[in-house]
Amino acid sequence: MGADVRLLTAPFDPAAELAAFTAAHPQAGGVVSFLGQVRADGAVEVLELQHYAPLTLPGMTALGQAVLGRWALDGVLILHRSGVMAPAEPIVLVAAAARHRRDAFAAADFAMDHLKSESWFWKREKAGGAWRWIEPREADYADLARWG
């Protein structure tokens, strides 16, 4: 089955997306999803994700195919925002539908680790009126290395 992979430049409704994905895969016994949202930690006013069109969506699409090739899935959903987002706004939604739950858990985990560390996005946040670029964390690379 297929991958639904989209790069979004406007806000999206994760509940509606997940409902549509689940409805499209009635044969799946389990659906695992992960939603990443902008942390509301007080100081941060907005978060901005930039992408590079020639690489970003093609890379996400390749990731979707890699996930499908690695686990027995009925489908995979990968949605990622670009642009400016306010605290509590969704950034990323990943879901995997499978006959058995372990494949779905692993596939969603794998997709998120690769989105964090390998996809072509650059993130900065604005706090106190000043922008600051977010550097990748060592932990993100360690997460990625788990998959060999």
Partner: protein, 77 residues
Amino acid sequence: MAMLVFLGRLADLAGGPAREVMGGPLDSVLAGLEPDLALALLDERVRIALNGELVGERSITLQAGDELAFLPPVSGG
């Protein structure tokens, strides 16, 4: 003319997301930029993509109409 594209923090350093330059060997193109920008672009963690394709080596020559993107370490999700 060729186009240099700067992603992430490199755009701040360059003062904008893109810049038109004369074509030629990449070394010469970089030598014509501000030293601090050129230095940042030479960082080994910065990947480059020529016309939308990642390239592993930097001994390239820019032709008219080429787009060369400089990609610092990513931070998505």
